[in-house]
């Protein structure tokens, strides 16, 4: 395969510029010859002759260089002819010449400051447009959800149960472990701080309030957003890329009813259950640390919990769950349906779904805190 490298020899023969090419003029072999040919100076010559006779191998890149050299010399007013070379090589040069159709270059880079401003503006418009679409989708989902609840027969049971299994049952190990650890962390922190005042027993209150009101639901919701919200986007988005959503529509099925409602409903049913489970394990984690570090027995822990923490705290956590679930599932499905035709956008939308869902959940949680504290519960 070690054919000779491209050879290039230009000389002036009277008023004729002779460019003799030889060796291997192929894509793999050509490197600096391009610049050498472009820099050819006619130096007063009236004619030019490009000799192909010595060329061993010619492919489209080589043919292009021959053609371009001839074209440039002609543009400078020279009379150019090609000599030597077999019919195949000349055919190839003709083929390449017939395909000299310059494409527009890539859009030129603009001033970075302008780019920054442009991107900022574009992003702002996009965020606003997306917020509008999301609110739109929120309304649409609510209507279809209420309609489905009014006609329970229209709910797709198999799909509902399967999503409940994936989002709920399969999340039990990780949710449980995480809550248990959070309960332990809270108890440790409380024990350290409160022991200074001799108020160790209030560690129980801290754990109870912390886990039941905020930590249980918030962390479970964030975990579910990362686990199931993203899965919803990826599933629906991939279907969008494969034109499955269009296919659903053409056979008279409503993607809202078939894809969105089962997911939304499944999450609204499972998140409260998951939250309850997380609450229990969080308390257990706290109780274990209380026992080990503070010598508070489980019985003492339970007694202090029932006297120090109102039942309301528990309910506040549970009440938030279906609302958060609705937001997470809705955002997940919305982003999935926003996927465009490329596979790349599935990834982008999945990230967006998780970020948006977590953001919205935390905003709602903050609002709920303000509301409940004003109500005095």
């Amino acid at each position: 395969m070690a054919a000779p490298a491209p050879r290039l020899d230009a000389r002036l023969d009277g008023a004729c510029l002779v460019v003799a090419l030889g060796g291997r003029w192929t894509t793999q072999a050509i490197a600096g010859e391009d610049a050498a040919l472009a820099a050819l100076e006619p130096a007063g010559a009236m004619q030019a002759r490009i000799e192909l006779g010595e060329i061993d191998e010619l492919d489209t890149t080589g043919a292009w260089l021959v053609y371009r050299t001839a074209r440039e010399l002609r543009r400078r007013g020279l009379e150019v002819d090609l000599s030597g070379g077999d019919q195949e090589q000349r055919d190839l040069i003709d083929t390449v010449a017939a395909h000299d159709v310059p494409c527009p270059g890539p859009p030129p880079p603009v001033n970075p400051l302008v780019t920054l401003l442009l991107r900022l503006g574009k992003a702002t418009v996009e965020v606003l447009a997306e917020a509008r679409d999301l609110v739109n989708f929120l309304g649409h989902t609510t209507v279809v959800l209420l309609r489905s609840l009014a006609r329970p027969r229209s709910i797709r049971l198999t799909s509902l149960v399967s999503h409940m299994e994936q989002a709920g049952l399969n999340a039990l190990p990780i949710v449980g472990l995480m809550s248990f650890l959070i309960g332990m962390v809270l108890a440790y922190q409380g024990a350290d701080q409160l022991a200074r005042f001799g108020a160790q027993i209030f560690t129980v209150n801290l754990v109870g309030y912390g886990v039941l009101r905020e930590m249980g639901i918030l962390l479970t919701a964030i975990l579910v957003a990362g686990r199931s919200g993203s899965a919803f986007t990826a599933q629906i988005g991939t279907m969008k890329v494969n034109e499955e959503i269009d296919a659903l529509r053409t056979i008279g099925l409503d993607p809202m009813e078939v894809l969105v409602i089962p997911r939304v409903l499944a999450l609204m049913l499972t998140l409260p259950l998951l939250t309850f489970y997380a609450d229990m394990l969080g308390l257990l984690g706290g109780a274990v640390i209380a026992l080990v570090e503070l010598d508070i027995s489980f019985l003492q822990f339970a007694r202090q919990l029932s006297s120090g923490v109102t039942l309301w705290s528990f309910w506040i956590g549970i009440i938030k769950a279906p609302v958060f679930a609705f937001i997470i599932a809705m955002v997940g499905c919305f982003e999935g349906l926003m996927v465009s035709r490329s596979a790349e956008s599935v990834g982008r939308r999945t990230t967006a779904a998780v970020v948006e869902a977590i953001f919205l959940v935390i905003v709602l949680d903050a609002l709920a805190s303000i509301l409940f504290s004003n109500l005095g519960i």
Binding site: I30, D59, T60, T61, W64, D91, V96, D100, C103
Partner: protein, 263 residues
């Protein structure tokens, strides 16, 4: 160098789990030849092509491409071989995060020492060769129609001026005029460069227009021959394929062109 075989497959056996796709399959492609591969849907045409280019490891048999045994070659040697062929996958397989021009530039950047300006020139030539309008250069694959994606895939396959061109259903999804142009293009490139082409196709017109020989995948093996010799095969599928209404129409069309085309 013009003679000899570029692809030689002997005793090939491929299987997915219990499903055997090819069994004791022999076949070869000579240098400078256009070999067509036909067969019913699911008979393993795409799998055969993928085995030859080293994407699927066969369960048994030898695959020799450009003098190298693909089944025994270490990975980096396969990489070195890969620049000597171009592949057009069944659905384009363009890199979705790159524009068409960048897609074509990718193999050039990786494997050649061409200057940036020359690369740009060659991208333009390849885009035009593949029959794409110049505006397509800066578009992303998701902004193209199915037929245009295929042409962009072809342009990328041609990027390195390969010795062997693998085409998986290249004319599917092209309009008839575009398909005929594509056939001509394959022919002219093949003549000029001594290119060898392995083309999986269902397009009977392009089979007649470009293929020197045809392999028919039947019963996990291939029957190879020119279209004329295959027509004499007693196999009912082959008979139906070449002598069915479409087969006859394509043959008639090719017959008219033969007087001028085979100079």
């Amino acid at each position: 160098m013009r003679n000899g075989t570029v692809i030689e497959v002997t005793g090939l056996r491929t299987q997915f789990g219990p499903q055997v796709i090819h069994e004791d399959l022999d076949f070869s492609v000579a240098r400078g030849e256009v070999m067509g591969v036909v067969g019913g849907s699911g008979t393993g045409k795409s799998v055969l092509l993928r085995s030859v280019i080293g994407l699927i490891r066969p369960a048994a048999g030898r695959i020799v491409v450009l003098g190298h045994d693909m089944t025994a070659l270490p990975a980096d040697a396969v990489r070195a071989l890969q620049r000597r062929w171009g592949v057009l996958f069944q659905d384009g397989a363009l890199f979705s995060s790159l524009t068409v021009a960048q897609n074509i530039e990718a193999p050039m950047k990786e494997h050649t020492r061409m200057s940036r300006r020359l690369r740009r020139d060659m991208i333009d030539v390849k885009i035009s060769l593949a029959g794409l309008p110049p505006e397509a250069a800066n578009k992303y694959p998701s902004e193209l129609s199915g037929g245009m994606r295929k042409r962009a895939g072809l342009a990328r396959a041609l990027a390195l001026d390969p010795e062997i061109l693998f085409l998986d259903e290249p004319t599917a999804g092209l309009d008839p005029i575009g398909a005929a142009k594509f056939d001509q293009l394959v022919r002219s490139l093949q003549r000029a460069l001594g290119l060898s082409v392995l083309v999986v196709t269902h397009d009977l017109d392009s089979l007649h227009a470009v293929c020197d020989r045809v392999s028919v995948l039947i019963d996990k093996r291939v029957k190879v021959g020119t279209i004329e010799s295959l027509m004499r095969e007693p196999d009912p599928w082959i008979q139906e394929y070449f002598r069915g209404p479409r087969g006859r129409a394509a043959q008639a069309a090719a017959g008219h062109g033969a007087g001028t085309g085979n100079g």
